[in-house]
Amino acid sequence: MSRTWVTPGGVHPPENKHQSVTLPIGQLPIPEKLVIPLSQHIGAPATPCVEMGQQVLKGQVIAQAVGMVSIPMHAPSSGIISAIEHRPIAHSSGMLAPCIEITTDGADTWIEHQGISDYEHISPRKLLEMVGNAGISGMGGAGFPSAVKLNPGRQRPIDTLIVNATECEPYITADDSAIRERAGEIVEGIKILSAILDHPTNIMIGIEDNKPEAIAALAPHVEDSGISVVVFPTKYPSGGEKQLIYILTGKELPAGKLPADEGMVCINIGTTFAIKRAVIDGEPLISRVTTVTGDAVGTPRNYDTLIGTPVRHLLEHNQFDEQAGGRVVMGGPMMGFTLPSADVPIVKTTNCILAPSYAEIPDDEPAQPCIRCGMCAEACPVSLLPQQLFWYAQAEEHDRLEAHNLFDCIECGACSYVCPSNIPLVQYYRAAKGDIRQAREEKVKSDHARDRFEFHKERIEQAEREKEAKRAARREATQQAKADHLAATANGTATPAPASGSGTGTAAPSAAPSSSAADIIAAAQARAAAKQANPEDQRAKLERTIASAEQRLKMAEEKLAEAVNSDNGKQDKLSAAVENTRQKLEQSKSKLAELAE
């Protein structure tokens, strides 16, 4: 048995996990429509690479990754692309986001795919590419693209690989049941991970002691593999990345650092299964295990669910009683968020759909005053003072909030859970974090504007000073000329020579400013000429113009599409704008073409 460490705080909410593990992982009929959001992960949304009406096969790429931190999306089943538009997605704000809708044909025909069995002899780079191409992002919570997390381009080698099988949220049993039924494939996935990370010395599967069946299922597969299964007492939130790292290693992740900075990688156990499927079987991530539970559904159990399956499909196939409860939660009862409607699709991070009855999770009671009893501080897993944070959040004292380490709050909800006054503490912290972020952004903007203004002022003053200097020079020259003239006339013995002398006398000082002005003009012309002469610069400039024009055009088209859907008032204006942008883009492109010639 490996040693484990105990985190401060934590709570023990009723586990309610037994309900959903009485049956094995089930399979639902293929839903009529699948809705695949283009952003199911942290990073840039994928861009569609299919067209309306196009026939796609199961596993076919329908949207490509954009940039470094992104993942592609694949068709979870075969069918026809029936929409590419904004749809409600799994987000706590209930917002709409771009999605691809597939009308399935029921045949579920796979695209040709192939994996590799001897991953030991493949370079980590190639394995990483396979993971990236399979569209795998972390399936535990945040959804960070796995290929990026595992990328070896880091400061120090990875010596510790932590596989997170904690599943500390009540009700959820997706990982538990997956381990029970797929332990072999999961361990295979961990071995692939180990190969990608150049065989870390320390490979641990962290799991809470409330999953004896899963622990037993893993045992035969990890024998002599160098992988240790570390069991520790059940406590919420042990499954948080920072908490798990401390429990297993006794080390705290320094604030603002990533596990990789400390030579560690922490990955969800569901993700390891997806990695095995991607590498050995060549299958992209198109389904995941999702728990459907709560007293408002008929039979709580786990399903192997296609990504994009509308929640409605899951609920309807599970005798959901709409009258029994008031909310439907995606995720667990501690950190999950309520869904605005049942049309929201299952995404790569959806481990649970919780439909509790009123008896299980009643409507919130009105909050009583905070008496600073300190139960929240006792429950906080990162040793904050939630009662003080609440106080300062109410007063909007941002400096105090930051001094009290508000941004180290992991929003686990333990404080709100224990609060005897029923205060929605986490909600206050989320709002305060948002306010502070906004204030910071505004500060950056206003600093920028101030700098610009000051520079502008400085430039005007500079110009003014130069003008003043010129004026002074001219005045002096005139006076000098007058004096010369006076002296000449006073001499009386006028010869033709002094006339020319006085002529040079005036010409000399006035030549100085005029020549400096000429210098400025010449310099400007030279610069312009240099610019003209340098086609490199010119091309770069044009390319930039084209890129930004393309961006603008895309945005304008999106807006237009929206306007077409909603109201017709803005439509004309927007289509004119689109046309305008398009013309500009054409112009720039033709210029670039000329230049290339």
């Binding site: 709570v11 909410p13 706590s92 209930g94 401390y246 705290e252 320094p254 604030a255 603002g256 650092k257 609920l315 709409e322 008031g326 909310r327 439907v328 939660v329 009862p333 950190m335 999950g336 968020f337 309520t338 869904l339 409607s341 049942a342 919780l354 509790p356 409507d363 919130d364 009583q368 005053p369 008496i371 600073r372 009893c373 300190g374 501080a377 006792e378 897993p381 990162v382 040793s383 904050l384 003072l385 003080q388 400096d399 105090r400 001094a403 009290h404 380490n405 180290d408 909800g413 333990a414 709100s416 859970y417 224990v418 609060c419 005897p420 006054s421 029923n422 929605p424 986490v426 909600q427």
Partner: protein
């Protein structure tokens, strides 16, 4: 299907503030029982009278503020304040003493500051100190403990007690007497051993003063119940009792005539245990972090001893608690816990970490 939008967490522990307050009330029962057993019905009458007054005052103010009376009375906080004040007041004190104290506690010290959760000072102790300063005679007349009653007399019964409290009857001779802390205050010139030999308050006692040791044991028992229920952490009480014990050991002076008394007497006399477990544990007016509460408690322990030993008052829990209430925000500023992933504790006002 459209669903309710609620922010996480969705699950909540069953405990609520009303239950916390009710548990505190239940935990005062051993102390109240000991007081009633050793000193007669006086404390019981105090508690009931103060509670009724407190509920009326609270309801009146909540009504004036246009809030829901049932919602605010249901948190039981007014009753807790009243019960603690009632327990602290001398048994058989005139009814108006109790009423004036409670009115001050609830209206001035609590509601005028914004009600539950907003009062900077412990309301019960504010009421107590106002009474102590305004009516010193009524506030320092204590009933004699059971063991010291003259032979053949008993504490007045419930009816007689009510007559004493409400109608101003005088209690029988010998029913009132000094407290152990009074005795020590006025016994200069005698060695501690001599005091223990001569004073019936001590020679009739087990270890700390007749009657009073039982009362303190009662409050200790109640406090341990609350600790085991995790209503508060050990830091405040241990800080106070530890500091009080340490001070009384340091200045014990081997029992000379100038000794302020033994550690056991200080721990089990006067309001020591009640203060440690029921007064300074009021979370609203105390420091917030565990370390802060340890310091807050220790400060009270030191102040209690200093005032008892060298001040003008025989007991000092109320003054010590109020002084520490003043210091609480200051203590808070320097006692933030170390957050996960940070190397140092921060100060409450520093935004940038060193």
């Amino acid at each position: 299907m459209a669903f309710k939008q609620v922010s996480s967490p969705h699950a909540h522990a069953a405990q609520n503030t009303s239950q916390v307050m009710k548990l505190v009330l239940l935990a005062t029962i051993p102390g109240l029982a000991a007081l009633t057993w050793q000193f007669g019905w006086g404390s019981f009458i105090n508690v009931v009278l103060a509670s009724v007054t407190a509920v009326v005052c609270e309801a009146a103010i909540v009504q004036m503020r246009g809030r829901s009376i049932s919602f605010y009375l249901n948190d039981y906080s007014a009753v807790v304040t009243a019960v603690l004040l009632g327990l602290a007041l001398p048994p058989l004190a005139p009814w108006w003493v109790v009423v004036v104290g409670t009115v001050f506690s609830i209206i001035v010290a609590k509601q005028l500051y914004g009600g539950l959760g907003y009062n900077p000072f412990n309301p019960a102790m504010v009421g107590y100190v106002v009474l102590l300063i305004s009516f010193p005679i009524q506030m320092t007349t204590w009933v004699a403990p059971l063991a010291l009653l003259p032979a053949g007399t008993a504490h007045p019964g419930l009816i007689e007690s009510l007559q004493i409290v409400f109608a101003g009857y005088s209690p029988a001779d010998g029913v009132t007497g000094a407290t152990p802390l009074d005795v020590f205050k006025h016994s200069s010139g005698l060695l501690v051993d001599q005091v223990y030999d001569r004073e019936p308050l001590f020679n009739q006692a087990m270890f700390a003063g007749a009657g009073w040791e039982w009362v303190n044991l009662g409050f200790l028992l109640g406090g341990i119940i609350l600790l085991s229920q995790r209503i508060f952490t050990w830091h405040g009480p241990v800080g106070m009792l530890g500091a009080l014990a340490l001070m009384s050991i340091l200045f014990w002076d081997s029992g000379s005539s100038s000794s302020p008394g033994s550690p056991l007497m200080h721990l089990f006399s006067g309001a020591s245990m009640m203060g440690a477990f029921f007064i300074l544990t009021d979370p609203v007016s105390s420091a917030v972090s565990n370390r802060g509460r340890l310091i807050f408690g220790a400060l009270i322990g030191v102040l209690v001893y200093v005032i008892r030993a060298w001040g003008n008052y025989p007991d000092a829990v109320a003054f010590a608690v109020l002084l520490a209430n003043f210091a609480a925000p200051f203590i808070d500023n320097y006692t933030l816990p170390r957050t996960y992933g940070h190397t140092d504790r921060r100060r409450a006002t520093e935004k940038e970490e060193d």
